[in-house]
Symmetry: none
């Protein structure tokens, strides 16, 4: 029913299931029904994010998501009005997953910017290399204007985290660079494309490559390896 279908803007809210549940604690039946719905939306988004992260956008299809969930394609249209909306929400989910990881890596820390940036990079590379090797495509494909907009928004949130740390390092004199923007973009590019050359088949080798990559990325903010 379109009457009750969450509008796109609400999707991110829906994902914060705990909070939503808390605020609707008053009514019973509604919250139960809604919780059910949210669960299903969450399952769909999980499947979507997995598909996007592993196959990339160009090979993403409703059919695959439906099959993975063992429902018909039509069912997806109960929750998302079009493939594009689903993709956008899926990207957001994927991004949120990553952001949760990254926030955990830097929060509540009293250490130097260098140490924290190193930890942030480590965490992000772990996620990208091992969990979402195809996520690069999400930032890479252009076409659908709305998707591009969503990606931009996601990037902005992600960027804030890194930029904050880099600014800190600059303020404290730990970092030196020509252009913060350029250094950050190089970092992002290198991180996102790393699954293409890091040898995941050989975990030992891969871990070493990741270590070297981290050291190299730190050079982008003027931190020279010991």
């Amino acid at each position: 029913m379109s009457r009750v279908r969450a509008r796109p803007e609400e999707w991110s809210v829906l994902m914060r299931a705990s909070r939503t549940a808390a605020t609707t604690r008053g009514s019973k039946t509604v919250s139960r029904v809604e919780r059910k719905r949210e669960e299903r939306v969450a399952r769909i988004l999980d499947a979507t994010a997995d598909e996007l992260g592993s196959k990339g956008l160009s090979r993403f299809s409703l059919e695959d998501v439906a099959e993975r969930l063992d429902v018909t394609k039509g069912s997806l249209y109960h929750y998302f009005p079009s493939r594009e909306e689903l993709v956008m929400a899926g990207i957001e989910t994927l991004a949120r997953r990553i952001m949760v990881e990254l926030n955990a890596a830097v929060e509540g820390s009293e250490e130097s910017a260098t140490v924290r940036l190193r930890r942030l990079l480590t965490r992000q590379l772990d996620v990208v290399v091992w969990d979402y090797p195809a996520s690069i495509e999400l930032f890479t494909l252009r076409d659908p204007a709305d998707v591009e907009g969503k990606v931009k928004a996601v990037r902005a949130g992600h960027d804030a985290l890194f930029r904050g740390l880099v600014d800190e390092g600059l303020a404290s004199g730990e970092f030196h660079l020509t252009s913060t923007a350029a250094s950050l973009e190089c970092m992002y590019s290198s991180i996102n494309m790393s699954p293409l050359w890091i040898e995941r088949d050989n975990p030992t080798r891969a871990r070493q490559q990741i270590q070297e990559l981290i050291d190299t990325l730190l050079m982008l903010v003027g931190v020279v390896p010991a």
Copy 2:
């Protein structure tokens, strides 16, 4: 500097094909027929490379190539057994075009590795940003095993050029780094993804961003901006 120029063995079959054609110009009927065929193949590859470079792989279609050449789709199957083979050869052509540009940027020079690397980066960024903004997609897509193999080969040829220069700089003491491989991969990633954030619509701004990017990329080999 032939020392750092990509070596012929790393180039493509087709590249060797044309050289072969040149050297066998003596023989009569066969060579004429073959030359005709090669010309057609070359035309197809040109069109394919253009399409790939500007649209990327995901939006690439046989239909568009055929239309651009004013032939039928069916005709393409006389020269390439499948879309995938055509794509692979097209990627190779695109890469070779770029390599020609890059070779020109470093050859016959007696200057320092830093100066030449800067020139190399400048040239590559010009090509990528202005001519082939979608080329990133070619290095990004995964699945078809053969395409991946071909991309790897192309990257190898490209890599030789950069690696030669970096090795020179290391030998001369101009460069400092943790891992040559990591530094190079970061460079490639940053170059390929740059069209996604450099503001091409605003050429003045874009040129400035490219300059900052080059300075930043040099930090990956331990060259600190003045």
Copy 3:
């Protein structure tokens, strides 16, 4: 003029249903429940008739009706076993609305048949052109045998009204024609299709066209314009 007003027997089952409800108002629980049900049915039919009249049958969807009523599609199936049944009842409702208007246009009048026919045409054209421009589609679509049957029934009721007036005019010598049936069918056709050529966007022009149309329609019963 009750003489020319459509007779109750020609009206619909549902019409009879409501009259039944009125007469059984004595009985308790059952009638209350039933009244509730009838109210809901009436609401559904109202919405359906609106949709049919404005969009026509081909663009009619259960979804739209449900949304308009702020209920689910499923709910509609409590009252109508299928889309087709709903449509049939909706057509009937629409027709009855129109009949109410038309009856009002001719009732309690002592004027000549010509004057009353003119008033009848005026009223009908007002309704069709301004309120239900898509109603033509309802009389036009064929296939589903049941719908066709229902449409026939509706047409019969409508026909009685016009035929009565025409018969009067013939009896009084005001009208002259070859075939009452043919003249009437031409009138109905011309009325129903008029929204397709009358320029509703330009109300002044439309009003003039309607006037000319009425004069022309009167020629079908041998009344020549002054």
Copy 4:
């Protein structure tokens, strides 16, 4: 191949097969190939027109046309870029068929406008009642803007024929009316909707009804039956 696919504007030309063949007599292979193509287009349009004429627009589907021709749906896309274009061309075909009939009914005649109009009406009713009882829907459904445009164009051609005759009758003093436009629209409406009430199942009765209808339609131009 889109390169050779006839653009919409050319379709009507393609249908005048004889003329086209005559003008391309110079080249052989081309004309043979093109003739083949035209034949196929003609077959598709025939099937389309039949479907449209018998089922109406709302129940028209590519699938049915393809099945009738025993080809796949995809094949239709070789000749028409979309359903809408096919429909438009089909409507045109249908209209042209009718126009051929109608032109034959009035051409080269020295008789009075009344006689010729009667013959024109007779012919048109024959076509509409017996051959294309569903054609009404084509003039009735609204939505797709382009289709509406095409229908308008078709109507214009058709209108010219009738209007010419009516103007003649007015000039000669045979006809009298209030508004030519209104009289004509009433005629068209009555003709198009006649299949809905004329009893085709009973041919004898139907023929009589048609005769009465013709007499009645002539009243719209002030011709009173004897």
